[in-house]
Each structure stands twice: as C-alpha cells, then as structure tokens.
Amino acid sequence: MIEYLVYIFISIGLTFNCLGTIGLLRFPDVYTRLHAATKCTTFGSIFTSLAVIVYGFVLWYEGSTGYGILSLHSAVALVALVVTAATGAHALARGTHRHGIKPALAVVDKLEEERKVKE
C-alpha cells in the first residue's frame, strides 16, 4: 500500500524538475531563469529524495538490513542539498547584479537605488 506514496513522490519530483528545466530554457532574463530553475529544482529534488527515504525506511522496517543506512545517508544528502542550493543561488544573484547586468523587463530596481544613495 505504501508504494503508492513512493509513486506520488516520484511523480511530484519529476514534474517540478521538468518545470524548472523548461523555465531555465524559456525565460528571458538571468534573474527570472535563476528564480524558476532554483525554486523548482530544489523542490523536485526534495521530493525525489523523500521517495528514496520512504522506500529505504519501509524496507528496513520489513527486515532487510542495509536499507536503513540508505535512508539515513539520503537524509543527510537532502539536508546538504537544501542548504547549499539556496545559498548558492543567493550569492549568484548578488554577484550578477554587481557584475552590471540589469533585469530585462523590470520597472523598479531597489538594489540599484540603494547603491546610488550610498555612493
């Protein structure tokens, strides 16, 4: 019965990974690409990893040794993935704005105004 949970998690993860890749290919600007791709890909990877964690935990609960270690290590990898993806995207967006690339279709740019006030 619980394998339907694994099917649902895999479906959600693959759907959101696909949406993130489409957003990376289709959006007009580096900031919008970063927004779509990072959010969707992190969410999708969380759900595919949750599917592996549930699978390993159920197999460990039913008595096959070794799958508990798979579930535990997948949880550690999931934590590392979530922390590093968000921080890396933030640093990349900040570096891009300092590099001099402006948002393509934006009307308001608060970060640029703030920098002009400081100088």
Partner: protein, 88 residues
C-alpha cells in the same frame, strides 16, 4: 513492499534527460551568469539523480559521493559568484 528498482532507474533516466536540456542553456547562454546558473542547476540535478540511482542499483556508496559533490559544487558556485562580483 515490492521491488521498485526499475522505477528508480527510470526516474534517474528522466533526470538525465533534464540535465541534457539544462546543458543546452549552458551552451547557448548569452552571458556568463547564464552559464553559471545552468551549471548550478546541473549540479542539483546530478545530486538528485545520484540518490535515485543509489536506490536503483542497491549500492549505498553513490549517496556518500552525492554528499561530497553537493559541498564541492557549492564551493565552486561561491567562487564563480565572487569572480562575477569583482573587487578584492
């Protein structure tokens, strides 16, 4: 619970297709930050695919490789951002 190894292998293959499409943005991208964003997404997808293939092939060592790869790709992304920002 029934054996779901083939499901995880199919999901990993789908993630590899997405990685190929993200690499197209890394090849086409007009500016340097576009390529950096595409490589960041490729790194995230490779980690997810490694976790899935570890469940598919029933070998736990792939997950340990994925943890180290996550930390190292994070450091690489930070260095690219530092280079784009310029300055000392």
């Amino acid at each position: 619970m029934i054996d779901l190894s083939n499901l995880f292998l199919v999901a990993g293959a789908a993630l590899l297709v997405f990685i190929i499409f993200a690499m197209m943005r890394a090849l086409l991208g007009p500016t340097v930050p576009d390529r950096a964003v595409a490589l960041d997404i490729v790194n995230t997808l490779v980690i997810a695919a490694m976790i899935l293939l570890s469940a598919g092939y029933k070998s736990i060592i792939y997950v340990d490789v994925a943890i180290v790869y996550a930390i190292l790709s994070f450091i690489g992304t930070l260095y690219i951002a530092k280079y784009l920002e310029g300055g000392p």
